[in-house]
């Protein structure tokens, strides 16, 4: 292992906002030598570099990464393999159930490796009831008992926190939250699981997986103004339907991918579970390398990226062509995510509330898009606009860029980072008969309050334009 690798290890492990000290070279080397055993979250990343096969054996990127974690030269779709897990994540909706299962049913008191376990409180931040508060109190006790260092209580939505602090290309990551499939956007294999499966991973560090077939979406062209990654996601879901990708992996490929930023890719990969996808994949390119540099934890495993790039034309289950330049703003109407219509068909429908946030669309790019439209305007008098940055990092950046005053001056409510209104049990609950247009990912019946309310999914600019006019609105109308 080179010095550069060692330094990188330390930066990755200790470069969090809570520990931003600048270390001199001697200390770096000393700490690196001492902490080789302690620094687990990236251990596999370096192991995989050593054991990496020179050939990708005709596998897709997803198959290649799964093969690495199954210690196999080759895996085929449909095969069931045992894999080692690099990182696993749970949140306040799923952690305590997992604790109960591992302790009471699996009779296991200790986790296999607390440094690979990440626990994030994001669904109800801050606690809104005694019951919620008890859940968070018990999570803190568990984390303390197990010596888990990767515990976040106020940092934002789990998937955004994972993106900012933990995920890396080539990793195999499982999480007790369905939107865990998002991290394919940076070239890892990630998937959502239930609490029993997570408990088994907590106990052993391993699980079984069925190797998914790859459906390759070939993106062509570039997006038109006022059309966003959310519209691509809704278009794909409409095309394949809510179960069209069940057990499959969605690989985004083709020349159009390079025109999408990493956050835009994340938005599309995040929504793939709404079509049933097990995981997603975007083969990492220069944008991914630059993205990790911006995050302050550069990814330097060049050979992994080269190998993943070799897989881009490998055989897959099927290919679907998407022409980005032909897309228009889309809306998913109640109560199914695949009930997608062009905005033009539902324009003018009266709304009561708008929400800008979530792991789908709560990043700085989304807030900029919203603030840009909103600047100098006010939301309609009958409307509420809730803005929830996806993470503390995003929130602080929005403050630095003076976006927050734009929202406040327009009459919006700005919430602390978390799942917020998208999760529907906390903040901005809807009354019977009310309608909300949201950048969130689900419009299920009752998802944001009363079963007699309605949820419409849309892009950040459509949500903000609709907040200004009090009805579903094309962004060009308020520009």
């Amino acid at each position: 292992m080179s010095l550069f690798h060692l330094i990188h290890l330390i930066q990755c492990n200790h470069g969090s906002e809570t520990n931003q000290q600048i270390l001199n070279n001697e200390e770096l080397i000393f700490r690196a030598i001492l902490s080789q055993i302690i620094i687990h979250p990236l251990k596999n990343f370096f192991l995989s570099e050593k054991t990496m096969a020179n050939t990708t054996n005709g596998m897709t990127a997803t198959e290649y990464i799964i093969a690495q974690h199954a210690k196999r030269d080759r895996v085929k779709p449909g095969e069931i393999v045992n894999v080692s897990v690099d990182l696993c994540m749970s949140n306040d909706a799923t952690t305590l159930l997992t604790e109960k299962i591992i302790k009471e049913q699996m009779k296991t008191q200790k986790l296999w490796d607390p440094d690979r376990v990440i626990i994030i409180v994001d669904h109800q931040v801050p606690a809104d009831s005694v019951d919620t508060s008890i859940v968070q109190q018990q999570m803190a006790l568990f984390v303390d008992e197990q010596g888990i260092k990767n515990f976040h209580t106020t940092d934002g939505v789990c998937h955004q926190v994972m993106l900012e602090k933990y995920v890396y290309p080539g990793a195999l990551i499982l999480g007790a939250d369905s939107h865990t499939c998002s991290y394919g956007s940076i070239g890892s294999v990630s998937s959502g699981i239930g609490s029993t499966d997570l408990a088994a991973i907590w106990a052993s560090g391993e699980t079984w997986l069925k190797v998914p077939e790859t459906i390759r979406f070939i993106l062509n062209g570039t997006l038109q103004p006022d059309v966003s990654a959310k519209d691509v996601a809704l278009h794909i879901i409409n095309l394949v339907r809510a179960n069209g990708l069940t057990y499959k992996t969605m690989e985004l490929a083709g020349p159009g991918v390079t025109s999408l930023t990493v956050p835009q890719r994340f938005t599309i990969c995040n929504m793939a579970v709404e079509a049933g996808a097990k995981s997603t994949m975007v083969i990492p390119d220069q944008s991914v390398i630059e993205f990790f540099e911006t995050l302050g934890r550069p990814f330097i495993n060049v050979s992994l990226i080269e190998n993943l790039q070799k897989t881009q034309h490998s055989p897959c289950h099927s290919e679907i062509q998407i022409h980005l330049n032909e897309l228009t703003p889309q809306i998913a109407c109640p109560h199914y995510v695949d009930n997608v219509r062009p905005l033009s068909e539902v324009q003018g429908l009266k709304m009561d509330q708008a929400f800008l946030g979530s792991c789908t669309n709560g990043r700085i790019e989304d807030l900029r898009e919203g603030a840009h439209l909103l600047k100098g305007k006010r939301i309609a008098s009958n409307m509420k606009l809730l803005v929830t940055p996806a993470s503390l990092r995003v929130y602080k950046q929005a403050l630095d860029e003076n976006l927050i005053p734009i929202f406040l001056d327009a009459g919006a409510i700005v919430n602390h980072p978390g799942c917020s209104t998208c999760w529907g049990a906390h903040q901005g609950i809807l009354a019977p008969g009310q309608r909300m247009v949201t950048t969130g990912n689900r419009n299920f019946k009752g998802r944001a309050g009363s079963p007699d309310s309605e949820i419409y999914l849309a892009s950040p600019s459509v949500v903000v334009a609709s907040a200004i006019k009090g009805e579903l609105t094309h962004p060009k109308e308020v520009r």
Binding site: Q105, Q124, T132, T180, T196, A425, R447
Partner: protein, 160 residues
């Protein structure tokens, strides 16, 4: 014979147990709100052993394992659907509930009298006088289901 409780396409786990009840202290507390958005009276009228029937993509959405757990708490042992969402399917088996993927789900109506014979791999609809065969569950999966779920299966292996 048991009653069939028929639901439509894309029954998501928010329908099975809405988000606001996940903070309740026990699965028993949550079970009172099972299927509330679809049928507020469900948990009072469902009888242990009755069969849940959905159509396409049953159990989609959130990964919450509380969804199969509240069903199990009420006494659900079998769910029949045209197909299931991936995470829910795995969560069902892990908790000892058998998810049967079968096109007959389309034909079964709400409140039909049905029975499911796991040993024979047979679904009988007495109301419609119809019988369908399904692939029996064998081997590893059968052992997990018989143990009442994955955790119980692992614990039983540990004990031996």
């Amino acid at each position: 014979m048991a009653l069939a409780w028929k639901f439509g396409d894309n029954i998501d786990t928010d329908q099975i147990i809405p988000s606001q009840y996940l903070v309740l202290p026990t699965i028993k507390d949550m079970a009172k709100f099972t299927m509330e958005p679809q049928n507020p009276d469900f948990s009072n009228t469902y009888k242990e052993g009755d069969v849940i029937v959905g159509e396409v993509n049953f159990g989609c959405g959130s990964s919450r394992e509380q969804a199969p757990l509240v069903l199990k708490e009420l006494g659900v042992r079998v769910i029949i659907a045209i197909d299931f969402a991936r995470i829910f399917f795995r969560n069902c088996i892990n908790n000892g509930i058998l998810p049967i993927e079968h096109p007959c789900a389309k034909e079964i109506s709400d409140q039909d009298m049905v029975s499911v014979d796991l040993a024979k791999g047979e679904i009988v609809n007495q109301t419609q006088n119809k019988t369908w065969q399904f692939n029996k569950i064998e081997g590893y999966l059968e052992e997990i289901l018989n143990a009442g779920g994955l955790a119980a299966y692992i614990a039983s292996k540990k004990g031996k």
